[in-house]
């Protein structure tokens, strides 16, 4: 029950979101009304033609003369009939155009909102989620909403209106026959909704099975080698079989139950068709009603079943859509980064003096990992951050760049607290090269200019020379206009060099570097080292250090372990301390004898 309520709420939020299109929606409804009116009027015209013929036939039978039909009237009615159906078509299609327009625009606007939202959410949001999940909201969920709206808005409107209109029309024609047809509505609806509910349950199960299948297939296919060598294929196949069996079972039930609505509505239609024929027939024999009326009623009763099954289908779709929209709107209503529009102060003339003062931080409020960290760096210093994997070296970067805010204490640049200026202002002063060589799809030039749009081509070429990018760029087709894509043939090392060039072009007074180069061959590694040295020259730099040479030459070394800063000082000081750093450093030169 609470779930139903939540889903309903999500639909209301969606409706509220559509408010900005209300004028078009109202026009759409009016057009639908117009269309339905004429759709319903159509069979009535046909009925009048049949009646005109019936009268003539009955007259001829009564008089014994040949049939003499009033063709003037028939032509007149025929033309009206054609016009009626044409108008119905215009109304219906007009409504469809309005609604599809609204749907497309609403989907677009949802996607835009989400794209903007993405850049306003704190990073902690993404830490807790997988990229795939967020992506799926932007594409799949919005798509589901779009498709449902497109199909349902139009159909739902015309279905409800048709039901009403047909009921009224039949009541006018013959109230007895109308009541028969109407009596079938609640019965059909009741059965249909039960079936829909049941099929929905199996459908959900099937989707869960599919999700499981997806996960299992992904896991197995990406590790076929390991699985085979460890004889895990037996286990993998058994697991697959059990998921596959569930899927077979749930899939077949889901197909069956969702397929049932069609025979059921048809049967209801046929039953009311038969009963109307019986009752109408008896009434006609007793001269209470006419053949044309029966034919019209039969046609109308068929028009009754169609909207009913549509309403049932739509109610399923709406459930899916409401689940999707609850995900979309909960994403859109996530807590954003703190507002900073009121901040007017700016950090100016940065030489590279940074201070950490009593910094306290934890990714979770209840799990503080940095308790009281103090540090002063002076212009031009090289600060190395070292420690084993998972020690929290990136935490330092996160705090410096204000990807996260400190819980207590502050970081100041040139004496100005970073919390008191806009984030963009802090970030402008840092150039960053991370281990993750992120480049976007676009030309090399676009990528290089990413951090500073007004960089000139000379500046860019100069930076590429210093970072050893020029050689390989010039070998590419189109050179600087070479289009990078996911599968473009750049090596990891070349990508790394490009990110270094990008940082250099940015011309920021301070640098943050992660120098891990494990996936790069030695020659490229040498190039990268040189490029990084060229980049750091004369700048204050924070380096997540892996190379001993970097660490030893640093002005300051921050040693981290398990998320906490445990030692600071330069190489010599730390070696004297004989603490964790000394241990770490010595371990790689431990003599063979020591270990065995």
């Amino acid at each position: 029950m609470p779930k139903m309520k939540k889903n309903a709420n999500a639909l209301f939020t969606l409706l509220a979101y559509l408010k900005k299109y209300r004028i078009r929606l109202i026009i759409g409804i009016l057009l639908a009304l117009f269309g339905v009116l004429f759709t319903i009027f159509g069979p009535y015209i046909v009925k009048m033609i049949i009646e005109a013929i019936t009268i003539a036939v009955e007259q001829s039978e009564a008089t014994g003369l040949p049939v003499s039909i009033d063709f003037g009237r028939i032509t007149y009615l025929g033309v009206i009939g054609v016009i009626t159906y044409l108008l119905a078509f215009l109304g219906n299609y007009g409504c469809a155009i309005m609604m599809s327009g609204v749907t497309a625009d609403a989907s677009k606007s949802l996607r835009s909102d989400m794209s903007k939202k993405m850049n306003r959410l704190p990073l902690s949001y993404f830490d807790a989620r997988q990229i795939g999940d967020v992506l799926s909201i932007i594409t799949n969920d919005v798509d589901t909403i779009g498709q449902t709206l497109n199909q349902s808005l139009t159909t739902l409107m015309s279905s409800v209106l048709t039901l009403l209109g047909v009921a009224i029309m039949m009541l006018i024609l013959d109230w007895r026959l109308a009541l028969i047809a109407i009596a079938f509505v609640p019965v059909s609806l009741f059965i249909l909704l039960r079936i829909v509910k049941k099929s929905q349950a199996h459908f959900v199960k099937q989707q869960l099975d599919l999700g499981e299948m997806n996960g299992h297939a992904e896991e197995v296919y990406s590790a076929v080698n390991v699985i085979r060598v460890y004889k895990g294929d037996i286990h993998a196949k058994a697991k697959f079989d059990s998921i596959n069996d569930n899927l077979k079972n749930d899939g077949y039930k889901s197909l069956f139950y969702s397929g049932l609505s069609f025979p059921i509505t048809t049967m209801m239609g046929n039953l009311s068709f038969a009963i109307i024929c019986i009752v109408g027939g008896i009434l006609a024999v007793r001269d209470i009603t006419m053949i044309g009326t029966i034919v019209a009623c039969v046609t109308y009763s068929k028009q009754f079943t169609m909207p009913l099954s549509q309403i049932a289908t739509i109610s399923t779709n709406l459930q899916t859509a409401s689940a999707a929209s609850s995900r979309v709107f909960s994403f859109l209503s996530e807590q954003e980064q703190s507002d900073e529009s009121h901040l007017v102060d700016e950090i100016e003339h940065v030489d590279g003096n940074v201070s950490f003062s009593h910094v306290k931080f934890g990714y979770n409020q209840d799990k503080i990992i940095i308790h009281d960290f103090n540090l002063e760096t002076k212009a031009g210093q090289k600060v190395a951050i070292v420690g084993p994997t998972g020690a929290g070296k990136t935490t330092m970067v996160n705090l410096l760049m204000r990807f996260y805010d400190t819980n207590d204490g502050y970081i100041a640049i040139e004496g100005k607290k970073t919390k008191e200026v806009k984030r963009a202002n802090v970030r402008k002063n840092f150039a960053m090269v991370l281990q993750d060589t992120w480049l976007f799809e676009g030309t090399i030039l676009e990528n290089l200019k990413f951090g500073r749009q007004d960089a000139t081509l000379e500046e860019i070429k100069e930076a590429c020379k210093l970072t050893h990018c020029d050689t390989f760029i010039e070998q590419l087709p189109n050179q600087y206009n070479f289009h990078l894509s996911e599968d473009s043939a750049l090596s990891a090392g070349q990508k790394q060099l490009l990110t270094i060039a990008r940082a250099m072009i940015q011309r920021a007074p301070m640098l943050i570097l992660d120098e891990a180069t494990s996936s790069v061959d030695t020659r490229t590694e040498l190039l990268i080292q040189e490029a990084m040295d060229n980049l750091t020259h004369g700048h204050t730099s924070f380096v997540i250090a892996h190379r001993l040479s970097t660490i030893k030459n640093s002005d300051l070394i921050i040693v981290m372990k398990d998320g906490d800063v445990i030692e600071t000082g330069n190489h010599d000081e730390l070696m004297k301390k004989k603490g964790f750093y000394a241990d770490l450093y010595n371990s790689q030169f431990a003599s063979k004898g020591e270990n065995g």
Partner: protein, 586 residues
């Protein structure tokens, strides 16, 4: 599609025959309804002449009506039966074919796997089958019933009146032409919607994966603008497709409406000319609708089918792929050496490539030895290692394990001898113990604990919630890179193989752990042969043999000390990582 149909099996074939029968019954019953209505109407018409016997006529109407009711129920029952059989048959086929696909893929070697991306294989196992499931189900339900209905209805109406049949035919042709038109306009756009959605995906993914970089460079606006361009593009196409598909229903109603007007209009002339009776005409309007609906359903199915056919082709592509690595037949394990790996003049060229990745490589690792491979990326280290468990087969030369060519072994006999630890951390969803004991599910507690000890994993495992029952998530994302590598190493140890193969499996460990782990390996697992690939010189300093590879050729072979004197490539690597002084200390 036809190939897939074959998967229904013998029982399925009987069910299918039953389905055809039921569909025929359903079509027949549906056709009887308008005919019966026509009969009722003729009874009514005759009423004025039999004023006296109105009661009898009413009874006639009533009984004809009852027959109608009976047919309506028979039709519904048959329809429900068809529906049941269709879903049963569909799932029968889908589930069988899906299993074949899965089994086939798990039997693939790298050569076959390289032809498909993992995501494409996953799509083929799930999405493609979902598509086929929907299409097959619809085909089973309607593709027999609808044509049957349409054909029989045509036969009925032709008998009744040729002129009106011609009118109906015109309506059918218009409708079919229209469906085809929409098909040719909209279907290509469907594909382009898919592509544009992919673009939206790519750009969002880019923004998400690079979120730190985007923020660091204050490039949020830039990304949003980029997104807006493709978003607008996608919306435009979507709107077009929505508009053209939105046309279908109103147009169908229009044609049906026109047809009913046309029939009575034309019919009035025929009645005047005495070539048509009134009840026939009313029945005709009903039949005409059925014919129209029948054709429409078939047309729509043909519009839907191409997508399923594409999926079926993709699935067949997998089933038709030939396995390039064939299991050996020699299951006699007597008289084999123990713990040796030998390459005899091995060359390897990737299928379709021109340059060999390995060029006449020879070496022999003896029992208990450590043989290390080092070289730049692309020098062929990983490829070399992949030849031992037959992820690929050599292009020329021989790979021998325990003195026998790997091609002659039964797969499991070969795999039993090997403990392979891959480069990227591969763990499976399941408990930590399940992962460690993956190659030997019946391992004892002692074996499990010892493996963790040697792999330097005991300490962190003890700190995890639930320890050995800690649930590893898919891909091992909830343990760190270093922990993943250690668990993988433990997994190899539990198997107690003669030969360990480490493909750069220490890279995420810090120097200290790396060192201790390898020392423990040497100590505790006496006599095992270690084949290892490394990037870090520190990892291989004390190997018995170091083989330096450069562009697939062996350019150095010896111990660290020897190579420092003789091999320029090795010196380059060494100096890039450690200072002279540090190397001297080592």
């Amino acid at each position: 599609m036809i190939r897939l149909l074959g998967k229904m099996g013998k029982k399925g074939a009987w069910l299918f025959a039953l389905l055809v029968l039921l569909a025929a019954i359903q079509a027949f019953s549906d056709l009887m309804l308008p005919d019966l209505m026509g009969r009722i109407i003729s009874i009514i018409q005759s009423a004025p002449f039999y004023e006296s016997s109105i009661g009898n006529l009413a009874t006639d109407v009533f009984y004809t009506g009852l027959i109608m009711l009976a047919f309506a129920i028979v039709s519904a029952a048959a329809n429900i039966g068809v529906c049941y059989l269709a879903s049963n048959l569909t799932m029968r086929i889908v589930s069988k074919a899906r299993k074949e696909v899965f089994d086939k893929i798990t039997s693939f070697s790298m050569t076959e796997l390289d032809q498909f991306s993992t995501s494409s294989l996953v799509t083929r196992t799930t999405n493609d089958f979902s598509q086929i499931q929907t299409s097959f189900n619809q085909a089973f339900r309607f593709l027999i019933y609808a044509p049957l209905l349409a054909i029989c209805a045509i036969l009925m109406i032709i008998r009744k009146n040729l002129t009106l049949t011609a009118v109906t035919a015109v309506a059918i042709i218009i409708l079919l032409a229209f469906v085809l038109l929409i098909f040719f306009i909209a279907v290509p756009k469907f594909n382009s919607i898919q592509k544009k959605t992919d673009r939206v995906n790519t750009v969002s993914r880019e923004n998400l994966t690079g979120i730190r970089v985007v923020r660091a460079l204050n490039a949020e606006q830039l990304e949003e603008d980029k997104f807006e361009v493709i978003n607008t593009d996608l919306t435009k196409t979507q709107r077009f497709v929505n508009r053209s598909t939105g046309l279908i229903m109103p147009f169908m109603n229009l044609i049906m409406g026109f047809l009913s007007v046309a029939i009575v209009w034309v019919g009035s002339y025929l009645i005047q000319g005495d070539t048509l009776e009134l009840p026939e005409m009313t029945a005709f309007t009903q039949y005409a609708t059925q014919v129209l609906v029948g054709f429409l359903v078939v047309a729509i199915l043909f519009v839907i089918m191409p997508r399923a056919i594409v999926c079926a082709k993709r699935i067949n592509e997998i089933l038709k792929t030939n396995n390039s690595i064939i299991e050996g037949k020699n299951d006699n394990l007597d008289g084999l050496e123990v713990g040796t790996v030998e390459f005899k003049d091995v060359s390897f060229t990737y299928p379709g490539a021109e340059k060999p990745v390995l060029d006449h490589v020879s070496f022999k690792a003896k029992k208990g030895e450590t043989v290390a491979f080092i070289g730049a990326t692309g020098s062929g280290k990983t490829t070399l290692i992949n030849l031992i468990p037959r992820f690929y087969d050599v292009t020329s030369g021989e790979v021998l394990v325990d003195g026998r060519n790997v091609k002659d072994y039964r797969f499991y006999d070969l795999f039993d001898r090997l403990g392979y630890v891959p480069q990227k951390g591969v763990l499976f969803s399941g408990s930590l113990r399940f992962n460690v004991c993956y190659g030997k599910p019946d391992a004892s507690d002692e074996e499990f604990k010892e493996a963790l000890d040697i792999a330097q994993a005991s300490e962190f495992v003890a700190k995890l919630p639930n320890q050995e029952n800690y649930q590893i998530s898919q891909g091992g994302k909830n343990v760190s890179g270093g922990q993943r590598q250690r668990l993988q190493i433990a997994r190899a140890i539990v198997k107690k193989p003669e030969i360990y193969i480490f493909d750069d499996s220490f890279s995420a460990l810090d120097y200290k752990t790396d060192k201790v782990l390898r020392a423990e390996l040497k100590n505790k697992i006496k006599g095992a042969t270690l084949i290892l690939v490394a990037q870090r010189i520190g990892t291989i300093l004390d190997a018995d043999q170091i083989i330096v590879l450069d562009e697939g050729k062996v350019v150095g072979h010896g111990t660290h000390k020897e190579l420092m004197k003789t091999c320029a490539v090795y010196q380059d690597i060494a100096y890039s990582q450690l200072s002279k002084e540090e190397l001297a200390n080592a």
